[in-house]
Amino acid sequence: MSALRTTAPPVTAGLGSATWRLIKAESTLCVRDKVAPLWGIGFPLVLLIVLGSVSDLREPVEGGGGLTYFDLYVPVLILFNLAILATASLPTTLAGYRENGVLRRMRTTPVGPARVLAAQLVANFVIAVVAMVLFLAVAWFGFDVDLPKHLLGFALAWLLAAAALLSIGLLITALAPGRAPATAIGTVLFFPMMFFAGLWVPISQMPPLLADIAHYTPLGAGMGAFQDAYVGHFPSAVPLLTLAAYATVCAFIAVRWFRWE
């Protein structure tokens, strides 16, 4: 084993490169995990294509500001992607890491476990960006759905929605005692959140009480902000502040309660 002595040519230029490699590794793992690519991108994409082929959905929604049912499905499916990442991909992976001692092992290296967590967040964020761009492009080129008229407003709304959802994912990770409970909590949260985003019934068609509730749920607020941007306004303050509040509060509690093992 004398060859062990010869130090390898410096593969690394310091911890910056370690972070970069971690992000690469976590992204690869996210793709291999299949939840994010299959349920986060593949499934909503197929749904988008199927729904885009139904001519009945090209009718304008009452109270939808001139948008058709299908127009509204594009942002709903973008939120679907964020919701899958936040409730299924991120917490299951991180709670699994904690349960299996991955984070504990990292504590004995110079890099530490916090950077694994950060790399997971970045990996999920990248997947979310890819999904968002892909859905917008497919809707635009494939089905003539215009891009949001207020692009900057849309981008801001999306960033806030992504921050809110990833914070919720971290909160689930922090509060769930293990991988299985994290998966269960995520699944239980996913369906009501998607309901209030208008996956089954557009928010404007909901009974007033449900619509009011929807505006203050993370995905309902996200949908409100997206809709504003689609019809050409800068998103109004209430949905943006709602999203920012979810992001801040959930991240704060998650950080306070997070356990590494």
């Binding site: 060859a3 062990l4 995990d33 991955v102 004995t108």
Partner: protein, 305 residues
Amino acid sequence: MPPVIEVRNLHKRYEDKVAVDDVSLTVQEGEIFGILGPNGAGKTTTVECIEGLRMPDRGEIRVLGLDPLRDHAELTRRLGVQLQAGHLPERLQVAEALELYSSFYPEPADWRVLLDGLGLADKAKTRYGKLSGGQVQRLSIALALIGSPRVAILDELTTGLDPQARRDTWDLIEGVRSRGVTIVLVTHFMEEAERLCDRLALIDAGRVVMVDTPTGLTERARIEQRIQFRPSRPMDDRLLTSLPDVSGVTRRGELVIVNGNDNALNAVTTVLARYQIVAEQLRVERASLEDAFVQLTGKRLEPGP
């Protein structure tokens, strides 16, 4: 030279029980120091405190002059760790894991060499979740060594390995030591401790029973030698019982069984030679470290067969 690891009066209590009661030990540069004891003796808690993974309730620890908690970041660069329960993501491949971990350290070892040295070359593309127990073990040894550490703490080094892999691992560890790496080995395998360790701390019920070389421990246990032979012609037991180094003589069929101290063999053969008796089928059983352990702690290391 200051010791590489210094532990003084370490005490660690979990909610319901005291895991480490009072452990003090020093590890010198370049040695293989064994921590030996039965399950639940406090071995793992002790090394986890040394690694900075747990906060001691009392006591002082220095590793390479560093405080494992306060100077944790600096310590991780110089200390290689193999955890008993420390894992990798299921879908991470062996080579990916090694490459990733080597990027964590300022002066990493060549991970390809480690991969070959630990016999994992043909598993480079295998996912962590698909490895056998022995392969997982070898990978975790590789990861402990990947940062070219000055000190490596290996917890249950060869548990789960087959005998051949175990010997290969021992060779590897000796190779690592010969390059000046100080090694702390937590084990409950006697053979491993006898073969590898320069010194051993015997831990039982959260306390250090004693620290000595493997031979020293065996001698301190004062276990008698047992000499067994078939005399070539009938002989009187009194020839042997009169010897001061012999404590007892018994017969089993044609066999004579003599118990005595370290000099007994010499004394017995001298007497037999004088009477021209040939000791046929001569066998000497020396006390093993295992016997010493039982003698010193009143406990067995591994559940007996």
